[in-house]
């Protein structure tokens, strides 16, 4: 193995990992506040990707410049995903809030399938190609090559994560989110409308997911209705690896997973790439079930 190949795979891993991290944040935020694994989150990401793809293509067709088309389509995707995220919480999860934990989990899988079917109805079941809005011409950077698109994906992800940390730790609504995650009853006594805080959490997580969807679709140049499944599973793995419920854990877990997967590619054929995520998941569950940055995992009394 040469040093150049290793460095190249590390760069690729960081780019992919930063997207995993964004998606993992959606899982971990919802888990933190509701102790629910929202398996439909991957499909929210898919809806974001397809919405942006069709919006961008339409705008390009109307002669809108690529950068403007990108910005508008990201905003449209964020809005659509935030609305869908809030709606799923309101319609599917809230009625089950006091039900045994298995019920909302199975519901989440149902919502996931539902969203895929809706995507087929609205967009179709084909692979659609994502327009090249930012240059994907490789740039040589020392021994590694990277595209402008990848550079923007990586730094935009980091900026979004920093923004989220700021929101959660430095603002009133963020403090209310943490308070609600810890004790909903007492949060209510403080005058916090916990339903609004939970809806807000879904909106933020889904909007981040939408951006991640645009990143994935632009990186691979395509999108389709089933793309959220594997991406969602991997991001979930990243969240578990970092310690689900913990924001830092999701971010670090995402980056590590991206690195493991891409460095692993040096040793096995590309077809087996997806194995790494799940080997990592099994190993983490066996040896460190609370995750790398393990917070309390104990069931609430």
């Amino acid at each position: 193995m040469s040093m150049e190949v290793l460095l190249q795979q590390i760069v690729n891993g960081l780019v992919v990992g930063s997207v995993y991290a964004l998606v993992a944040l959606g899982y971990t935020m919802v888990y933190g506040i509701l102790q629910l694994i929202n398996f439909a989150h991957g499909d929210i990401v898919m809806i974001g990707a397809l919405t942006a793809l069709f919006t961008a293509s339409a705008l390009l067709g109307a002669g809108v410049p690529p950068i403007l088309a990108l910005v508008i389509s990201i905003f449209v995707a964020m809005l659509v995903c935030a609305v869908i995220g809030v709606a799923t919480e309101r319609l599917a999860y809230r009625p089950l809030r006091n039900a045994p934990r298995l019920a909302p989990l199975i519901t989440a899988i149902g919502v996931s399938i539902l969203l895929q079917q809706i995507a087929i109805l609205v967009f179709g079941r084909n692979y659609f190609s994502f327009p090249e809005l930012i240059s994907k011409t490789p740039i040589a950077l020392g021994v590694v090559t990277i595209t402008l698109n990848e550079i923007i994906i990586f730094f935009a992800s980091i900026a979004l994560m920093a923004g989220l940390l700021w929101l959660v730790h430095r603002t009133k609504i963020g403090t209310a989110m943490r308070a609600t995650a810890e004790n909903q009853k007492v949060a209510g006594l403080m005058g916090i409308d916990i339903n609004r805080v939970i809806a807000f959490t879904f909106a933020i997580g889904s909007a981040l997911g939408a951006i991640a969807g645009v990143m994935v679709a632009s990186n691979y140049g395509q999108a389709h209705y089933f793309m959220g499944f594997m991406l969602g599973l991997k991001a979930f793995t990243a969240a578990v690896m970092g310690g689900i419920g913990n924001l830092w854990g999701a971010m670090i877990g995402g980056l590590i997973l991206g690195l493991v997967e891409n460095v692993g590619l040096i040793f096995v054929r590309g077809d087996y790439k997806d194995i790494f995520a799940f080997v990592v998941l099994v190993l983490v569950l066996i040896f460190r079930p609370q995750g790398l940055i393990g917070e309390r995992v104990a069931e609430r009394a």
Binding site: K172, A176, R178, A179, N183, V186, L189, M190
Partner: protein, 237 residues
Amino acid sequence: MSALLDVKGLEVAYGGIRAIKGIDFHVNEGELVTLIGANGAGKSSTLRALSGLVKPAGGRVLYRGQDITGTPSHTLVGLGIALCPEGRGVFARLTVHENLLMGAFSRNDDEQIAREVDEIYTMIPRLKERTRQLAGTLSGGEQQMLAIGRAMLARPRLLMLDEPSMGLAPLMVEKIFEIIDLIAKRGTTILLIEQNAQLALENAHRGYVLESGEIILAADSKSLLADPRVKEAYLGG
């Protein structure tokens, strides 16, 4: 004088079992009223019903003449009712300072809030030394102080305290009651639920004795302290 809080025929039931069997009591503006009783007498159920945590099975709760029966807890805060819950309920993973700010969640007057946070720190210096500490690292007594300070930041007209002495060392209990006394003297109306009848009655104007979901005695604190039935049942003979 009309009562600030007027409870009429309040009933609370859990799955058909009536924990509170139609009780009446009231709290006047500026008073410190205590509800005492043994474990399981229904003290906490009463408070839970008043604060919107459980829906009453019957009866009415009037606050400043307005019917607030079954109002959700997050709305009550805006009306001026704050509950300091049993077992303190501080947010363990938030700092002391963040806990206090959450008490003022429904308010938007940031500068005034900052001034009142400073007042709390002056009143309870122990909290000031621990501003940036996570609330979960505080001792039980400090958490109780924090919970009371946090409730005060809602600027309540009526402060309801649920078993503030629970699980605390005698010295700490004394400190907590000093703080309660101070709050009462500054004019906040207080409804105090306590198992420690002696301390509660020493500090309160009036008291009610709750037994098996019913109020069996109601009088001013002095008479209750002197009452042979209270002495025997709650004050250790």
